[in-house]
Every structure is written in structure tokens, then in C-alpha cells.
């Protein structure tokens, strides 16, 4: 009975995680507008807060993507939530993130031929594309697997 509950719990949590991560990816990517359009005050308190908030957000998302979340659940439930399919989806998400980072880096490299790009801005754009893309890919693959099989 307990085992059956574990399967159902893993199913429910995994499905919820897929939707949550897909939504977080959209929020993370669209939230960059705030960063880009916000008041320009390099080195100021508001700027530091903005950078720190973004960094914490990015690291949290990376941790969720890598760990699969639900750390306080039993080992069996977590194993089911991170079984072969999920690990394969995570691998594909990492690959998408990698290629997005490479593509964005090349784009910024080319851009520097015409305009000055601050190192922090460049890193911000590359990490945003890589993390957002990887997260969105993982969320969508998981959602599709839950929906269609």
C-alpha cells in the first residue's frame, strides 16, 4: 500500500515540478526585461540588489534543475521522481543550455566588433539564455511525457 502511495506521490510531485519549472523558465526569461529596462545606476545600492537578486534566482533555478527538488521526500519517492526518463530529459536540457550558451557567446563576441559590451552584461545574457533554455526544455519534455507518454 505504501509502495503504491510512493508511485502516486512521485507522479503527482513530478507532474507539478514539470509545470512549475516551465513556468519558472518563462518568468526567468521575461523577468530580464526588469533587469534591462530598470534604472541605470552602476555600482549603486539598487544595482547591487538587482544583481544579487538575479544571481540568487539563477542559482536557485540551477539547483532545482540539477537536484530535481523535493529533498524532504523519502529516498524512494525521489528516486522515482528522478528515474531514467527524467535523467534523459535533464541531459537533453543541459545540452540545450550548453548550445544556447555557445550561441549567445558567439553572438556577443560578434557584437563586440561594433559595440562595447560590459563583461557583467555579457555573462548575464549568456547565463540567462543557458539557464532559461535548459529549464524550459526540461519542463516541456517532462510535461509532454506526463501528458502523452
Amino acid at each position: 500500500m505504501n509502495d503504491r502511495s510512493d508511485v502516486e506521490t512521485a507522479e503527482r510531485l513530478s507532474s507539478r515540478r514539470a509545470s512549475l519549472l516551465a513556468a519558472m523558465a518563462i518568468l526567468f526569461l521575461s523577468g530580464q526585461a526588469i533587469y534591462a529596462l530598470g534604472p541605470d545606476d552602476p555600482g549603486g545600492t539598487a544595482d547591487r540588489l538587482k544583481v544579487a537578486a538575479w544571481l540568487i534566482w539563477a542559482l536557485t533555478l540551477l539547483f532545482l534543475l540539477g537536484s530535481g527538488g523535493s529533498l524532504f521526500r523519502s529516498r524512494r519517492v525521489r528516486a522515482m521522481m528522478n528515474d531514467e526518463t527524467t535523467r534523459a530529459h535533464r541531459g537533453r536540457a543541459y545540452a540545450v543550455g550548453f548550445w544556447l550558451a555557445v550561441g549567445t557567446s558567439i553572438g556577443i563576441y560578434l557584437l563586440t566588433a561594433f559595440d562595447r559590451v560590459a563583461p557583467r552584461e555579457a555573462i548575464h545574457v549568456i547565463l540567462t539564455a543557458a539557464i532559461g533554455g535548459a529549464l524550459a526544455t526540461f519542463g516541456l519534455l517532462e510535461r509532454r511525457a506526463h501528458r502523452d507518454g
Partner: protein, 70 residues
């Protein structure tokens, strides 16, 4: 020549009167994984294929076979 993997997991599971969740429980994976394997969306590892065979009481070859297209 392209090769694909066909499987009889759904039929074998139904013959044993097992739900996807029940088979998932026996193997220790999520129902999503059983579902994706049955639909040919996901190709399982050797380890998972062996676990599925053991849970269904048959050989791996009884579940999975190569389909060859010329």
C-alpha cells in the same frame, strides 16, 4: 538501413493484469517511464529492460525486438 525498437510491454503487462502504476511500483520507476517506454517515446537502458523482464517474468527479448527498415 534504419533500425528501431519495438516492444510488447503494454500487451505483456495487460496479460498479467497489471496497471502501469503497479508495474512502475514493481520496477521502482515512475508511471511516466512505463508509459513512455510502452509508447516507444523512450528507449530504456539495459538495466531497466532487465528489471522490466524480471517483473513480468519473461525474457528481455520477449519484450523488446529490433524492427529493421531497408
Amino acid at each position: 538501413m534504419a533500425e528501431g525498437l519495438s516492444n510488447r510491454l503494454c500487451a505483456l503487462r495487460a496479460e498479467r493484469d497489471l496497471t502501469q502504476a503497479a508495474l512502475a511500483e514493481k520496477v521502482g520507476v515512475s508511471r511516466k517511464t512505463i508509459n513512455t517506454v510502452e509508447n516507444g517515446v523512450f528507449i530504456p537502458s539495459t538495466l531497466l529492460a532487465l528489471k522490466l523482464a524480471r517483473a513480468l517474468g519473461c525474457t528481455v527479448e520477449a519484450i523488446f525486438s529490433l524492427e529493421t527498415e531497408d
